[in-house]
């Protein structure tokens, strides 16, 4: 396999230090198991999440650019890997705006100067998602060679959410044919989990919305959207919904419970991060992957399949 992404800057983001703790833990454990080097970006800040852009999109670009500036100018990194869709999306958005929008460049330069750090310049670093990282650094063959406990028999629906693929223009490397990622039918998670032996179900709602932006502000809409995701996965025969974003993941967990307690709608699929599933297949202990930290209880299912 190519030497690409063997050492990357790691930007966990706020959610991975809170509700997405298990994603942080399993990403690190997976990197360690695969011999990949994760160097955490020093003294990082919030990327702006989904809220700051509603105050002012240019401020979101500034916040995201500061993270990339530290990685490039203070740590000499050429790649930043973000496992959270929100962080990944915002860094990509800032990258796009800093290459194309003079007003954003002006704001970022002004704010960076006042804040006392070098302003980030477009193309200093490449931002990638945790899926790009594993897919490029290890690949399906690399996973296949290393599988200790095949996920065979486990039926998985892969859920990518909104921010991994939309809007298209901030992801110029996607939709390039060949093995590149698709914005309409993303497949990196499908490829990797299939290589780990899982049975991937044909899930039509891969890039549907979980309502994460209004998970508390408009809980009923979020519950309806999540219930649709869960019911459809169930209908497709999935035991597991695999996620690659802490907001989607906690949204699915939270509104699965809310649908149960407030609307008496019980659904079966358990929710696991793709890093947890890959880790299990590679023989990492469930505890090291934070599976006991998930609210959605996957342990009975995993035990029944001899995976935990």
């Amino acid at each position: 396999m190519s030497a690409k992404y063997q050492k990357v800057g790691y930007y966990p983001g706020c959610a991975l230090e809170g509700t997405g703790h298990a994603y942080n833990r399993s990403t690190k454990a997976l990197g360690k198991k695969l011999g990949l080097d994760l160097v955490e970006v020093k003294n990082w800040n919030c990327c702006g999440a989904m809220e700051v852009k509603n105050i002012d999109p240019k401020l979101q670009s500034y916040l995201s650019s500061r993270v990339m500036s530290i990685a490039a100018n203070e740590m000499g990194l050429d790649t930043v890997m973000a496992p959270c869709n929100g962080c990944y999306h915002n860094l990509k958005k800032a990258e796009y705006d800093l290459a194309n929008d003079p007003a954003t460049i002006e704001t970022v330069e002004k704010l960076s100067g006042k804040a006392g750090h070098k302003a980030y310049q477009a193309e200093q670093v490449e931002t990638i998602h945790a899926l790009d990282w594993i897919k490029q650094a290890i690949g399906e063959d690399g996973i296949r060679e290393r599988v200790k406990n095949s996920l065979s028999g486990l039926k998985i629906a892969n859920y990518y959410g909104c921010m991994y693929t939309r809007p298209r223009h901030i992801f110029p490397e996607k939709d390039q044919g060949g093995d590149s990622e698709s914005t309409l039918q993303p497949h990196y998670m499908d490829d990797l989990l299939a290589a780990a032996g899982a049975e991937i179900v044909d899930y039509p709602l891969k890039t549907a919305c979980c309502g994460g932006a209004h998970t508390l502000a408009d809980s009923d809409i979020s519950t309806k959207l999540v219930l649709n995701l869960l019911r459809t996965a169930e209908t497709c025969g999935a035991d597991v919904i695999a996620t690659e974003c802490p907001t989607c993941h906690s949204g699915l967990e939270m509104h699965q419970i809310r649908a149960e307690t407030e609307f008496q709608q019980k659904t079966k699929p358990v929710i696991l991060y793709f890093t947890q599933l890959l880790g299990l297949a590679l023989g990492v202990k469930p505890k090291k992957l934070g599976i006991h930290e998930n609210i959605s209880d996957a342990l009975p299912l995993l035990k029944s399949r001899n995976l935990a």
């Binding site: 809170g18 999440a49 700051v52 509603n54 105050i55 704010l111 693929t165």
Partner: protein, 244 residues
């Protein structure tokens, strides 16, 4: 999926007579429903420029009404009254009174960006929804929406410390919107969260919530952001013709 379109005929303008005869012709009942004609004279031609002056609304003028946004919309699939194409139309022709009929739902856009993906004219309809919600609030047509409260609580923490801590956000948001923190479903969630956790870890998590995460040396960034926001707000108010 077909687009549900809104009717411009208001229910209060429909006239059905129980018994009416005009020139010897019986025009009673449902089959002879009349629509009271109305002349619209109160166009507000400033709205488009005002919406375009707020972040996200910059490209509203590009719209050619194809309806791809509404067709792809996540919220429209749940509530057919939520119709971005229709609102862009109303803003562009200045039909303020029609727009205000939907003022309480415009903030419900979930920012999934399906519209932005589908739009052939790069209108950025998602941004337009945000600028429109913002316009309604600045003009005093609506109270701050729950989403606006959430954005302010969240962004406020980011601006203050450089990072957020979710527990603090949830508590602050519930307090601001007058909701009880002890929601049944939150309690069930908390119980399930701790189900498999060792005591050691729960204690560590409890202690963790007492310390607010911070980016070191954030003071200068905080001051620069505060200054930027003050300038931005002044620009927005000026564009909307508002004085303090």
């Amino acid at each position: 999926m077909p687009i549900h379109e809104k009717t411009l005929i208001r229910p209060e303008n429909l006239r059905v007579q129980e018994s009416l005869e005009i020139d010897g012709v019986d025009v009673s009942g449902h089959w002879s429903t009349f629509i009271e004609s109305r002349a619209i004279t109160d166009y507000n031609e400033a709205i488009e420029d005002e919406v375009a002056a707020l972040p996200g609304g910059e490209y509203i003028h590009r719209c050619w009404q194809c309806g791809s946004c509404t067709n792809s919309c996540t919220v429209n699939a749940i509530n057919a009254e939520f119709n971005p194409r229709h609102w862009i139309y109303l803003v562009r022709i200045g039909m303020e009174s029609e727009l205000l009929r939907d003022k309480e739902i415009i903030w419900q856009c979930v920012s999934c960006n399906k519209c932005t993906y589908a739009c052939p004219r790069d209108v950025n309809p998602e941004g337009v929804m945000k600028s429109l919600a913002h316009w309604l609030e600045l003009k005093g047509h609506t109270e701050k929406s729950p989403a606006q409260h959430f954005d302010e609580v969240f962004a406020g923490q980011v601006f203050a410390t450089g990072k957020i801590e979710e527990g603090r956000i949830i508590r602050a948001f519930f307090a601001r919107t007058g909701q009880a923190l002890r929601q049944d479903w939150l309690m069930v969630m908390a119980k399930r969260l701790v189900r498999h956790l060792p005591l050691k870890m729960m204690i560590a998590m409890g202690i963790g919530t007492m310390f607010q995460p911070k980016t070191r040396g954030w003071g200068r960034a905080r001051a620069a952001i505060a200054e930027h926001i003050a300038e931005q707000k002044a620009r927005e108010r000026k564009a909307l013709g508002l004085t303090d």
